[in-house]
């Protein structure tokens, strides 16, 4: 996973959580057609000064995790295995270090599933990761989840190696 993409996603999620928070108490009666609150063409600026990554930023999280911001699942499964636990513990340590930070766990599925089932499967995976983070002491209120089902693959092949990379839950901290 490349960092510009992650950052974009983070900004996008930030914007969307803000939108959610803003309307949490009162539902908008009407929405204009497709105003595109979460345009994916945002050119987000990394919170970087010179070549220094700001401690406690999403960029810092990604750099510190060295790939452990993502955990992987077997086909149709959502259990947390020992490798996942190691990764999630590393995430939890970082989150404990920055108690003001919130994070979203994105759940994903590979392309070899039906669309709606994969949305539900992504929910399961994101929640499995979230539940583990909570079990090791992270306040549940700091964590949200979202499923993208099979809509956002990172590996583009139609083979087992690609599918294994796409069955994932990615933790993204919110700057």
């Amino acid at each position: 996973m490349t960092s510009p993409r992650t950052i974009r996603t983070a900004i996008l999620l930030l914007a969307s959580s803000a939108a959610l928070a803003a309307c949490a108490s009162k539902a908008p009666k009407q929405l204009p057609p497709d105003p595109g609150a979460n345009v994916s063409t945002n050119t987000a600026q990394e919170p970087v000064q010179g070549n220094t990554i700001t401690p406690g930023s999403q960029a810092d999280f990604v750099a510190q995790m060295m790939g452990q911001d993502t955990i992987y699942f077997d086909t149709d499964r959502y259990n947390i295995d020992s490798a996942d636990m190691t990764a999630l513990q590393a995430q939890a340590q970082w989150l404990a270090q920055y108690p003001g930070k919130r994070a979203t766990v994105e759940g994903h599925a590979d392309e070899r599933g039906t669309r709606e089932y994969n949305l539900a499967l992504g929910e399961r995976r994101a929640n499995a990761a979230k539940n583990y983070l909570v079990s090791v002491g992270i306040d549940a209120a700091r964590l949200s989840t979202v499923s993208y089902g099979k809509e956002r693959p990172v590996a583009l092949g139609s083979d087992e190696a690609s599918w294994a990379k796409n069955r994932r839950a990615v933790t993204i901290t919110i700057d």
Binding site: L12, L13, A15, S16, S17, A19, L20, C23, A24, A27, P28, K29, Q30, L31, P32, P33, D34, P35, G36, A37, N38, V39, S40, D76, Y78, E111, R112, T114, R115, E116, Y117, L119, A120, L121, E123, R124, R125, A126, N127, A128, N131, T145, V146, S147, E151, R152, P153, V154, L156, G157, S158
Partner: protein
């Protein structure tokens, strides 16, 4: 609709003159090229070999119209072409269209030159006329004759707004199809789907609608937000669909009359897989709470929701039986995706698929006699079975076919097919014999087709 068709037939023209039936004013649409659907047909069953001649519709006076087809004479040619394409592209008959046939005079419409047509080996003859009517409308008459018997089999007429001229052709094709096959009509219907463009990891997905033959195509969303799984309301006034508008999956209702949309329900949880009840009064949706997905039912106009399933597994989707009393849905409570049925109040849930592999995305036929679904065992294939889960038959065999949707008459199924590697998806359709399979010509890639009912 049967009743309305019969009344249209009963009222039919003693002379090609008066209007029998007015169609509602059309919505603004953007026209796509004439072709609509295309595809090869290979079938050899008996009535599908029936030779039908469809010459250009005649007119009493060639005058300009406000239709996209031009003058009444040009419109008469276009009407016959649309009817020919409807019947030919669906593998139903072997029609011969107006471009290869002589054009009957206005006076011949009700007095066919049977011997001429017999000499051309036509067994059936579809003739018609078009006339300019008051207020820019056009009146179209449609007649079906048995050439060997020298007998009129059916006739009907419609007065339509200029933008609805293709509907008159679809209704004529429906009349011919129904009379000759004994099946219910389906051409005069529309399809909602997801138009897809862009690379595999950043696909742009737009809500789009089109006529059953691909014409009158229109995009409803810009693509800035990912949208999925549309469902036309039974009255065609609105579309339920999933949108990531606020960053998380939620269900919206798009109002086609006002071009506005609203959230189906406010929730902090993921809400997806929207479905209408056949009477349009209820909406089924699936909601994930702490990772566990269940199916709920709520009044379409808003109000208290009822939870229908409570298994610890994923319960998702749902499709009502045509009488609204039962729901077929998908659940992995037994360890893998399988198809279950329950009563509309959630009682008496039981599994009906025991075919090996996984069974997903069930859709109840509008006729009630079949359930279409995706069977997964290696390849993803479209299959049908009885509501008891018997007599399973595959209709397709490709790497990944999923999400069947039924034609209004329950004889044809659309689905989407994904190409291995590129991930490109296209909308395909197949009839219940499994033989007449073809890809729909959409402007860009397409997925998640949802076929609406016969238009009111």
């Amino acid at each position: 609709m049967n009743l309305r068709l019969i009344s249209a037939l009963a009222l039919v023209l003693a002379a090609p003159a008066a209007a029998q039936q007015s169609l509602p004013t059309p919505q603004p649409t953007e026209q796509v090229p004439e072709e609509g659907l295309s595809g090869a047909v290979s079938d050899d069953s008996d009535w599908q070999d029936l030779g039908i001649a469809i010459p250009a519709f005649a007119t009493d006076a060639d005058v300009p119209t406000q239709t996209s087809a031009g003058s009444t004479a040009a419109l008469g040619m276009s009407l016959a072409r649309v009817i020919n394409d409807d019947l030919k592209n669906n593998g139903l008959f072997k029609p011969v269209g107006p471009d290869a046939l002589p054009r009957p005079a206005f006076g011949e419409v009700q007095a066919p030159a049977y011997d001429t047509w017999a000499g051309r080996s036509a067994e059936m003859l579809v003739q018609g006329y078009v006339r300019a009517a008051a207020g820019g409308q056009v009146t179209v008459g449609c007649y079906l004759y048995d050439v060997a018997l020298k007998q009129q089999l059916a006739k009907a007429g419609w007065t339509v707004a200029p933008g609805d001229w293709r509907r008159a052709a679809h209704k004529c094709a429906d009349m011919v199809y129904s009379r000759l096959s004994g099946e219910s009509p389906f051409f005069d219907s529309r399809i909602a789907y997801i138009a897809e463009t862009g690379p595999k990891d950043r696909r742009m997905k737009r809500l789009a609608i089109m006529d059953s033959d691909g014409a009158n195509h229109r995009y409803l969303t810009t693509g800035q937000t990912t949208v999925l799984t549309p469902r036309y309301s039974p009255d065609y006034r609105s579309i339920l669909y999933l949108s990531y508008f606020n960053g998380s999956p939620r269900i919206y209702i798009y109002d086609l009359e006002s071009n506005t949309q609203r959230l189906l329900l406010q929730s902090s949880n993921a809400v997806f897989a929207p479905r209408w009840s056949p009477d349009g009064k209820w909406v089924l949706y699936s909601m994930a709470i702490a990772g566990n997905t269940d199916i709920y039912k709520m009044p379409a106009g808003g109000g208290a929701a009822v939870r229908l399933t409570d298994s610890p597994g994923i319960d998702i989707g749902g499709s009502f039986s045509p009488d609204g009393t039962r729901i077929v849905f998908e659940s992995d409570r037994g360890g893998s995706q399988q198809v279950y049925v329950m009563n509309a109040d959630g009682s008496d849930q039981r599994r009906i698929t025991f075919f090996g592999g996984r069974s997903a995305t069930p859709e109840w036929s509008p006729r009630g006699d079949q359930i279409a679904f995706t069977h997964i065992a290696g390849n993803f294939r479209i299959a049908v079975m009885t509501p008891e889960g018997r007599e399973m038959r595959y209709l397709t065999d490709s790497w990944q076919d999923e999400a069947p949707t039924w034609a209004p008459n329950g004889r044809i199924i659309q689905f989407f097919r994904t190409t291995r590697g590129s991930g490109k998806a296209g909308i395909w359709q197949v009839d219940l014999t499994g033989r007449n399979e073809r890809k729909l010509a959409t402007p860009v890639d397409g997925s998640d087709p949802a076929w609406g009912p016969l238009r009111p």
